[in-house]
């Protein structure tokens, strides 16, 4: 068969709009999801067994089920339970934020754990009060250590965001599929869509190991 990629150029505005939706969705859910994940990460080290149990169930459940079913659940079931109509975009944001919260909470938890006992000893020997230990010593180190993994969590979120096309949100994937169906040119259109995802995700994924090396070099004790 003959391939004609110029066909895609005719739809560049629509694709750009879809990409913009994908990026908006990703950025909003990165911010909300990281905030949620940070709180959940702290909750999982809480002294209260109830708080620990509730947060563990949340994390394990969201890590143990397909994102697609989470999305369907939020999309079809949440409006029924709440008794209000939810705009598609809002459902997408809720679902992806909950997903991002679950995976970043594990990142924050691991990085909090990686601040060693010796650092705490030093804090006590210097007479630092608990509040200063947390704000000046533990959290800054934990956040620094979390950055590389958080970055790869962001790449995962960016990729998973393509699922919202399945519930009719007009993101890059959704627009791409529409154009492909209408033009009967799936090879050209879907290949370009895949390339757009790749061009954004690949440099980010590469940056992870670069950032990781720099941070580890800085934190080497």
């Amino acid at each position: 068969m003959e391939l004609d990629f110029s066909i895609v150029a005719r739809f560049q505005n629509a694709l750009a709009l879809g990409l913009w939706t994908t990026i908006q969705l990703t950025l909003i859910c990165i911010v909300l999801g990281c905030a949620l994940g940070f709180l959940i990460g702290l909750a999982r080290t809480s002294r209260s067994a109830v708080v620990r149990a509730v947060s563990s169930v949340y994390v394990e459940f969201f890590r143990g089920t397909p994102v697609l079913i989470q999305l369907f659940w939020i999309f079809f079931c949440l409006p029924l339970i709440l008794g209000v109509e939810l705009p598609n975009f809002a459902s997408g944001i809720i679902a992806l934020t909950l997903y991002m919260g679950a995976i970043t909470s594990e990142t924050f938890r691991a990085s909090l754990k990686s601040v060693g006992r010796e650092q705490l000893d030093a804090c006590i020997a210097l007479g630092l009060p608990r509040r200063v230990q947390v704000t000046s010593v533990i959290l800054p180190q934990a956040v620094l250590r979390a950055i590389p993994t958080l970055l790869s969590n962001c790449v995962s979120l960016f990729k998973e965001s393509a699922l919202v096309s399945a519930v009719g949100i007009a993101d890059l994937m959704f627009i791409g599929q529409n154009i492909s169906n209408n033009t009967a040119r799936p090879v050209e259109v879907l290949t370009i869509v895949a390339l757009i995802y790749f061009i954004i995700a690949f440099p980010l994924a590469r940056a992870v190991s670069l950032v990781e090396r720099r941070i580890l070099a800085k934190l080497a004790i």
């Binding site: 459940f61 697609l68 369907f72 998973e160 879907l190 995802y197 994924a205």
Partner: protein, 220 residues
């Protein structure tokens, strides 16, 4: 909330049929991913750039694009490009298998390259030839180190397999969605479907956690 729950509406028979399809997809994709992943790992570690670079680029392409894009691409484009028409189950297995191959290749590569230099030095000092060093030192160590990641990737593909519902393979997700539409009982149906996925994934993640803890203990 005015919704009254009725879990009796969820009939398990189609869900069970769907689960079997999901498990078939998962196992077949893992068989592909575990074997081809290793071969591709050898390619991306090749000293010959003409082999290494294309292999690396394809691995990165699978790792850096959404799985749903890959699956939809595969279903629409492979028949048109190569003029092959396979049944949708085979297509699903191939698409998931290729995706897993890329992730597993990275896992194998990382594990092989993480074998400490001193281990190889010891092999040289003991007079082992290069082939023996790979066979007796590198591979056993690397395989053991890669098991947790391979398991995590394997269960990841179990979850990603839900995507094939979008191209109408009748897996657990697909059956769940049809049932939800037929019965007008989305909450019960999707909850049960989610719980089934969870019931399979959770034990595996626990095993991975156990293996990793044990490994850390052994290493320290």
């Amino acid at each position: 909330m005015n919704y009254s729950f009725n879990f009796n509406a969820v009939s398990f028979e189609p869900l069970l049929k769907g689960l079997i399809v999901t498990l078939e997809l998962t196992l077949a994709a893992n068989a592909i991913g575990l074997t081809f992943g290793f071969l591709v790992a050898l390619l991306i570690m090749s000293r010959i750039a003409a082999i290494r670079l294309p292999a690396m680029l394809s691995v990165e392409f699978f790792r850096c694009t959404p799985a749903i894009v890959q699956i939809v691409w595969f279903f629409y484009c492979v028949p048109m490009l190569f003029d092959v028409y396979l049944d949708s189950m085979t297509m699903g297995i191939l698409a998931l298998g290729l995706n897993l191959t890329a992730f597993n290749a990275e896992a194998y590569r990382a594990a092989i390259q993480a074998v400490p230099r001193e281990q190889l030095d010891a092999g040289i000092a003991l007079g082992l030839n290069p082939f023996q060093r790979v066979l007796y030192i590198v591979l056993p160590t690397a395989f053991r180190a890669s098991i947790p990641v391979l398991l995590t990737n394997g269960i990841g593909i179990f979850q990603q397999s839900a995507l094939v519902a979008i191209v109408a393979i009748q897996d657990l997700m697909y059956q769940g969605k049809s049932l939800a539409t037929e019965t007008y009982r989305p909450i019960e149906t999707f909850t049960v479907v989610a719980l089934i996925y969870f019931a399979v994934s959770f034990p595996v993640t626990q095993i991975v956690g156990y293996l990793e803890r044990r490994r850390q203990l052994l290493m320290s």
